[in-house]
Amino acid sequence: MFESFCALLLRLYPAAFRRTHGSEALLLLRDRARHERGLFRRVRLLMDLAIDLGATSLHGWQSSRPLLARVDGPPHFEIIDSYRPGPTALAAGILATLLMFAAFTLLLRPKPLLKALAYFSEQSDAETPGPDANHARQQVTGLEAVGVEPDVAFAAISIKPARSSDPREMRMRVLPNGDLSASALPVIWLLPYAYDVPVNPSPRLSGLPGWRETYDIEAKAPANAVPLDLPAREKRRRVQGMVRRLLADRFKLVMRGELNTMPVYALTVASGGPKLQKSTIEEDSCIFDTGTRESCHYFVVGRGHPLNAKAINLDDLALYIENWTDLPVMNRTAVSGLFTVDTDGWRPMRLPPPPPGVPAASFDDLPTIFSVLRTLGLELKQQEARVPVYTVEHIERPQLDEGGAR
């Protein structure tokens, strides 16, 4: 087979050479292939052949060499020397070809070629990034990695230092049209809203910054950013997109998201069916507001984190209880709509450590979350699932606005 391969390579030689010495050359190659065995010798043979082929092609082949001044016979002309392109001419030809190709690319700008150039340019940046290029790339990477649509953005944003540092003043509102208003809000509270992750320390969100500055934020959504006739999930997704964009643009957030397989609790309907009360608030008039009991998609805080809300869906429920369960919680009920819930508090499965000097709270008198959910006709079943896990790779304190929306 190796001999056949060498014979095949012989076909690359100039036709004139093959006509004159083809059969001899074939015998020579076969002799060498037969006698030079072993990997090293075979590789050496192929290299010799490649070099010889290049030299023969470069210098050309003539079946006969001219003779000088034959004095016998009738007067006639002999070609004393024949011209073949030298290395300089070949180099000039290659350069001219490259220039023509570059001119073609620039003038006509064929799209596939530009895409290929952009691709290789990105690869080159990845290998040798400069500081600014790297930061910009990270911004794009952060947006793309978590599926943010680059075109979805608040039309106007104002971020100022919080007028009050009292945590009781913390409040966040999202209107049905997508406008966002927040006071005394630490940035870590925007992350759970934007990415549907628990605000409590969670295995699904890591890399949070240690700084706890709070801000007053006013963000105006563009006209018709969240049409009223959209399904509830799509409305939320659009607002989340704008908040993610705000975080990326103003806080230079780079968030890496990946799907990991891990044990979870699946929120499911119990055998007796759901026992949920429909909310009187319609989705179209929903206002997310942490400062009022009449809020949509928000639980009122209480001892043991009772499930107390005017208008929540079961996605909200799963996300809320995940703050204190020992595993992530996924809504697998397929039950849609807004519901009013009001249960007892329950014994958290995990709690962050209390502040220094503050004794740990006790919740031993409270029922488990499993009992509380059963009163709603729901239950938690342990399963394996692929869940989104986020890591904050980069975040900065924002450039603050002195006055008015930016």
Binding site: L27, H59, L67
Partner: protein
Amino acid sequence: MIDMPKDKLNPLPAAAFQILLSLADDDLHGYEIMRRVEAQTDGRTRMGPGTLYSSIQALVDAGFIAEVASPREEAPNDARRRYYHLTTVGRRAARDEAERLVGVLRVAREKKILRRGDV
């Protein structure tokens, strides 16, 4: 005496000189020439078919070597082998080249580039 072509064989290229030397004792075909040249140069020169046969063609055209009938009984598969013989002109050309190289050696020794014991 036929004038030597002045383009490519004066002075003799190294490959052509080695081919003439290889044919000094025997008539050989192409592969044998290649192997003998490799042995003469301690493995430094291995000619591919293009280089070998272009050199052989130039030497044939110059009359330094000539194609001859096979000196031995060939197997049926090898009937296509072409054997080459060093002509008188070729032998003279090889001697001229060797004498030129001797002169070069002498200058190298005089300049103490080479010592007598080196070659």
